[in-house]
């Protein structure tokens, strides 16, 4: 095993070490999973430290705000550790955790999602549909991922959910319809309007 870069290790950080992801994932994911199944707290902590940041971003896409996203992320990790025994390691741990986070987030907002989408559809007026034509120009602008993410989170919850599920999490319209309890047609129309609105927001912000 290669030695760790020392500048990453902080001896004063008693609560836990900051570890390079590659270090802990390199040939040790199976051991990590095994230790989590045995209930080892240190393994659970490692898993949390490895994936909590990314999962927070996943949950933020489906949450009302940052606090709500953190709650969803915590609930998701609780489900991960309570059900780790059922994980058969047919996919990577990250993929499995991501799927749990998405399902948990959608379950949490499913009751209001239909109403939210309808409200959003009625309230949101896309005045200038010409914005899409400037999109190629927008692509060339030095807009960071974080900026795009922030603008994504400005979308209404319903639009954001459909767009995230379809584009980022690669759900089909059929799967989205099942998850959200809407029709495929509604999913497609929501996606189209979400993309238009996002393009408009980005254009107004950065062009």
């Amino acid at each position: 095993m290669s030695s760790k870069p020392e500048h990453i290790i902080n001896l004063e950080d008693i609560g836990g070490f900051l570890q390079p992801k590659e270090f802990l994932l390199d040939n040790s994911e199976h051991e990590l999973i095994k230790a989590c199944k045995a209930g080892a707290k240190v393994a659970q902590k490692r898993v949390y430290e490895l994936f909590s940041g990314k999962m927070l971003n996943v949950c933020r896409r489906y949450a009302k705000d940052s606090e709500h996203a953190r709650d969803l992320m915590h609930d998701g990790f609780i489900k991960v550790f309570l059900n780790i025994d059922k994980f058969r390691e047919q996919s990577s741990l990250e993929t499995w955790i991501t799927r749990i986070m998405i399902n948990n987030s959608i379950s949490a907002i499913k009751k209001d999602i239909r109403r939210g989408i309808k409200v959003n559809l009625e309230d949101v007026q896309i005045k200038d549909e010409g914005a899409l034509q400037d999109f190629e120009y927008l692509e060339k602008q030095p807009i960071t991922a974080k900026q795009v993410f922030e603008k994504l989170n400005e979308l209404p919850l319903g639009y954001r959910t459909v767009l995230s599920l379809y584009i980022l999490d690669e759900y089909t319209h059929k799967e989205i319809a099942v998850q959200l309890g809407i029709s495929e047609g509604t999913s497609k129309s929501q996606l189209a309007k979400a993309k238009k609105l996002l393009a408009k927001i980005l254009t107004e912000a950065y062009l």
Binding site: M1, S3, K4, E6, I9, L11, I14, G15, G16, F17, L18, S28, E31, K34, A35, A38, G39, A40, K41, V42, A43, Q44, K45, Y48, E49, S52, G53, K54, L56, N57, R70, H74, F77, I78, F81, L82, L132, Q133, F135, E136, L138, E139, I143, T144, A145, K146, V148, F149, L152, L163, I167, L168, A192, K195, L198, A199
Partner: protein, 500 residues
């Protein structure tokens, strides 16, 4: 369409590479996780409890059903043991002139007097008789013929009548046309006439009841005949009684119902002292936390691993139980038990630093980083052996023929004997043998349990007892860096083998 594809690619390309911040709220999340684990544990215990309650209810229901599925036997009648219809036992035949049925009065044990009807004059098997009037009688109580209650005696080893026996009394023919097919052979009935078997005395002289002597059903007869009843019949000492001539008159007095007190199951220990061998596995859940004041006695890389490793356990108790009855359903219990307590320790963590230990104080002063971290993966079964001396009081508020509920509270003294297995040194993380660790020798506990015992056979019971225990101390010495929660919740599954 092209624009739409572009935005999809744009979003994917940007957001797939989105950086994320390290989240340092593990402590907050850990509390939520522990709460969720605790709730899951409670939920599982509740389901287990509900399942057990359901099973116990099923057993009780089956037993109640069986109990009431047969003919009802009043408690005061349960000791009936009829010794009738033999030459050595007293048997009395009474007859009434116009009575379509022949009657029989038989004296049984426990001062029971039963009347019955012949079906087969040769056999006169009361066991087949469907109309039996049972009443309790004693030298000071009386017989009330109550035709409303029909009982059969449960413990009634009736021996068939021998029609050659000298059974006094008259047998009347059954003249009721509706009952002509009740198996009574008129000819044979006449053969049973006592006139051919008893001395030549008048019936009255023989002391037989005649019409006016036989009490009507449900009617109390004055006790003017008191004293004329042969004394032996009162006392039950009839072994030498051969002269069946004097049977009458029958005293008729009001039956007094005895206060039976709490129901004592026939399975209850009869002897004041009872001894049994008990074997029961016990599943306990007990929690440990890091003692905040002793963190310098515990390697930091080891804290989380050892907390997760030592929370659940299994023990097997085998011992002699001595019980002394102090009330109808109350017992005081003691004895001695050998307890084998096992828990599996599983450690799987990375050791990043070496601890430097102050040789004088034994505490960890500082850490230095290892050049390469070491994965420590360790598992073993740790066994602790105790001798337990319990003392408790048990109360059994409810019992049927198969189930007894038991409420027990008490305490015990535990003497630690030995420990086996391997574990890790809390400071150096080296593998050590448990026997090299120092332990305290004595521990005390208080317990409360509510459970049920099920009767399997006269000598064997099985039991189920959820138990709560409180320990006054642990066996660990002063430098043990963990605080052991003194309460434990467990489940005993008991096998009891009675010795007397």
């Amino acid at each position: 369409m092209r624009a739409k594809d572009n935005i999809e690619k744009f979003l994917k390309s940007r957001l797939d590479n989105l950086d994320y911040d390290f989240q340092d709220d593990w402590a907050v999340f850990e509390q939520k996780l522990e709460q969720a684990l605790y709730i899951r544990h409670i939920r599982r215990m509740m389901w287990m409890g509900l399942s057990i309650v359901f099973l116990i209810g099923l057993f009780v229901g089956m037993n109640v059903y069986e109990y009431y599925d047969r003919e009802y036997i009043p408690r005061s009648q349960q000791d009936i043991n009829m010794e009738a219809y033999s030459t050595s036992s007293p048997a009395i035949l009474i007859g009434k002139k116009d009575e379509p049925e022949t009657g029989m009065v038989v004296r049984g044990k426990g001062s029971q007097i039963l009347t019955g009807r012949f079906k087969n004059p040769e056999v006169g098997d009361m066991q087949n008789s469907r109309n039996m009037n049972v009443a309790s009688a004693s030298p000071v109580s009386s017989v009330v013929h109550n035709s409303e209650s029909e009982y059969t005696s449960r413990n009634n080893p009736v021996t068939p009548i021998n029609n050659h026996s000298s059974v006094p009394g008259s047998v009347k023919e059954n003249t009721d046309p509706e009952e002509k097919n009740d198996g009574i052979d008129e000819e044979k009935v006449s053969e049973l006439s006592l006139d051919s078997k008893v001395p030549e005395l008048s019936r009255k002289e023989l002391g037989f009841l005649v019409d006016e002597d036989i009490p009507m059903k449900g009617v109390n007869v004055n006790s003017s005949f008191e004293g004329q009843w042969p004394e032996d019949l009162y006392t039950g000492n009839l072994s030498d009684y051969t002269d069946m001539s004097l049977r009458f008159p029958i005293e008729v007095k009001e039956v007094k119902k005895e206060d039976t007190g709490p129901y004592v199951s026939p399975l209850q220990e009869i002897n004041p002292w009872s001894y049994s061998i008990n074997v029961y596995p016990n599943f306990a859940f007990r929690k440990m936390t890091v003692d905040e004041e002793k963190t310098d006695l515990l390697h930091r890389d080891f804290i989380d691993a050892v907390q997760a490793a030592e929370s659940g356990s299994f023990s097997l108790n085998i011992g002699l139980r001595i019980s002394r009855r102090i009330g109808a359903i109350t017992f005081i219990n003691s004895g001695v038990e050998y307890i084998t307590y096992k828990n599996e320790v599983v450690y799987n963590f990375r050791n990043f630093r070496d601890a430097h230990i102050n040789q004088q104080t034994g505490s960890i002063e500082k850490y230095t980083l290892k050049k390469e971290s070491e994965l420590i993966s360790f598992s073993d079964i740790n066994t602790y052996n105790y001798l337990n001396f319990p003392l408790s009081i048990s109360y059994q508020p409810w019992a049927s023929d198969h189930i007894r509920l038991n409420i027990e509270a008490g305490g015990s003294y535990l003497h630690f004997m030995s420990a086996h297995g391997q574990t890790l040194n809390y400071k150096t993380l080296e593998t050590i043998d448990l026997s090299s660790r120092e332990f305290k020798r004595s521990m005390a506990s208080f317990s409360f349990k509510v459970g049920a015992n099920y009767y399997v056979s006269d000598k064997i019971n099985v039991g189920f007892e959820p138990t709560i225990m409180y320990f006054t101390n642990s066996i660990y010495s002063e430098d043990y860096p963990f605080y052991v929660i003194p309460y434990s919740v467990g489940l005993n599954l008991k096998l009891q083998v009675k010795l007397n």
